[in-house]
């Protein structure tokens, strides 16, 4: 009985801690967003830092996005090809692959990869700066850490995630085309016609809108956990884990919410 009670209270306590952490995160990240929004319009503007971050967060992520998108397109083609073949629907593969990649898998998978690479990097970098008092030094030297650290990263991801998603969409569809031709014997001209030309502008725009939101989520989550890192190197590790887990969960959950909202909006 005692053990059961202890177990119950432990569970209760850890649930409470998770809830407090969650409330902290929600409040803190909204505060950070608000402070960043206000600081965005104040001088000085660090264009050089923005360019550096676009390169470091965006361009350098292109290889993992490429591999993810290519593999996804190829796997989708194979799975749908063999699945639909049983019902004589093999020729629908280009449409299914194109639509899934453009609306869902391109944005979500590329952003999950970006969250893993870039979100972790942002938190580790800012977290290390925090525990070594470099952020205090930025403030003590009369400059604003939000302007120097947060805004360039948020803007860079807002700019680069949609671009990377367009890249992922094209690579994914190409991967599907390659496998469809090699394994399912679907001619590339037919694939291209079916996959690209049957897509609507709204399919593309939905994916891009989602990606911009995911980019904002990754950057704000990474910066929030970095700026609130405490406790030395161990703290940096914990913050980095929290940052990746939180941004990945937010991407998956918000993807469902946005998809549902777009469905309602598009059906009208």
């Amino acid at each position: 009985m005692d053990k059961a009670k202890k177990f119950f209270f432990l569970g209760y306590e850890s649930s409470l801690m998770i809830l407090i952490d969650l409330m902290d995160f929600i409040g803190g990240s909204f505060n950070l967003f608000y402070a960043s929004f206000l600081a965005l319009f104040r001088r000085p503007f660090y264009f050089k830092l923005l360019i550096e971050q676009c390169y470091s967060l965006g361009v350098k992520s292109s290889s993992i996005v490429f591999i993810t998108a290519l593999s996804t397109g190829m796997v989708m083609s194979l799975q749908f090809g063999f699945g639909l073949e049983r019902f004589g629907g093999k020729l629908y593969v280009p449409k299914v692959v194109g639509l899934s990649i453009m609306r869902e898998l391109g944005p979500v998978l590329s952003c999950l990869m970006i969250a893993a690479r870039v979100g972790a990097g942002i938190t580790a970098e800012i977290g290390s700066m925090n525990v070594t008092q470099q952020i205090d030094a930025i403030r003590a030297l009369g400059t604003d850490p939000i302007k120097r650290l947060v805004i360039p990263r948020v803007l860079a991801l807002l700019i680069m995630t949609p671009l990377l998603t367009v890249f992922a969409d094209l690579v994914g569809i190409f991967g599907g085309m390659f496998i469809s031709n090699a394994e399912l014997f679907i001619h590339p001209d037919f694939y291209y016609h079916e996959a690209i030309l049957s897509l609507k502008t709204s399919d593309f725009l939905v994916g891009i809108f989602k990606t911009s939101f995911f980019g904002l989520v990754i950057a704000l989550t990474g910066c929030y956990y970095g700026m609130n890192t405490q406790g030395g190197t161990q703290g940096v590790g914990q913050s980095t884990t929290k940052s990746v887990v939180t941004s990945s969960l937010l991407i998956v959950v918000s993807d469902f919410v946005m998809t549902k909202l777009f469905w309602i909006f598009e059906r009208k």
């Binding site: 000085p44 700066m129 070594t132 008092q133 470099q134 205090d136 403030r139 003590a140 030297l141």
Partner: protein, 250 residues
């Protein structure tokens, strides 16, 4: 001492209260810092010396009480409004807090690029002159990871004084340094004192306290237990103070 008392304080600290969770760090601290003096804050670990120092530059806000610099309240100012104050008050961090993605030259150039209209040539000259003063010539292109602990502290001091601040706050600048680097830091502090800069120093280093300071404040249990000239503190009849100075338990 009498002269200093008659001067108007540059920094006025009144009734400062601060707590972190259940721990009361400051329980009503009053302190004045006069222009041109070197004041040391002394006390056991965790007595709130560094927190007090951080409050003077606005890195920490008191729960209650006021801090004035040149008659202007600091505790109520937003980060934006603190910028002009922070140009006048430099903070030397315990381990230098150098930006590790910047070279030594870039670290020193940082405040100049942010707050002055100097061109790159003028910035380079000013950086070189400052590094010369601190015996760091030749380290311009090095990164903090390639510097010894003592050099990192000296670069930290160089970055803090490059804007010619009125006040310099030192947070344990000599802790853990070898005698050579300790001596170098003390020399810099003495030099700055001669140029008329006001300094507040947090340290456990008795040699530093009794060689460069004018006055010493001893903190204990969130209060200032003793305040006086370095000789008054050295010969203090208060048991806690004399025990602390002589490294005995108190």
């Amino acid at each position: 001492m009498r002269e200093k008392v008659e001067k108007k304080p540059l920094i006025e600290i009144r009734g400062i209260h601060k707590r972190f969770g259940n721990k009361i760090v400051h329980g009503g601290i009053d302190l004045d810092v006069y222009p041109g003096e070197v004041l040391a804050l002394m006390g056991g670990s965790g007595c709130g010396k560094s927190v007090l120092l951080r409050m003077i530059v606005g890195l920490e806000k008191p729960d209650r009480g006021t801090i004035k610099f040149n008659g202007q309240h600091i505790e109520t100012l937003s980060e934006d409004k603190l910028v002009p104050i922070r140009k006048k008050i430099a903070y030397v961090f315990q381990y230098g807090a150098l930006f590790d993605s910047f070279s030594v030259e870039e670290n020193l150039a940082y405040p100049l690029r942010e707050h002055t209209d100097l061109n790159e040539h003028q910035i380079h000259n000013k950086v070189t002159t400052t590094l010369d003063k601190l015996g760091l010539r030749g380290s311009e292109k090095l990164y903090p990871s390639g510097l010894s602990g003592g050099m990192q502290r000296r670069v930290g001091v160089a970055r803090s004084i490059i804007m010619n601040p009125e006040v310099i706050l030192y947070d344990e600048p000599t802790t853990g340094l070898d005698p050579f680097n300790t001596q170098q830091i003390l020399k810099i502090m003495l030099h700055l004192k001669q140029t008329g800069a006001t300094s507040v120093l947090v340290t456990h280093d008795m040699h530093a306290i009794f060689s460069v300071t004018d006055r010493v404040a001893f903190l204990k249990d969130g209060q200032i237990l003793a305040l006086g000239t370095r000789d008054e503190i050295k010969n203090s009849p208060i048991r806690e103070v004399s025990s602390f100075i002589h490294g005995e338990s108190y």
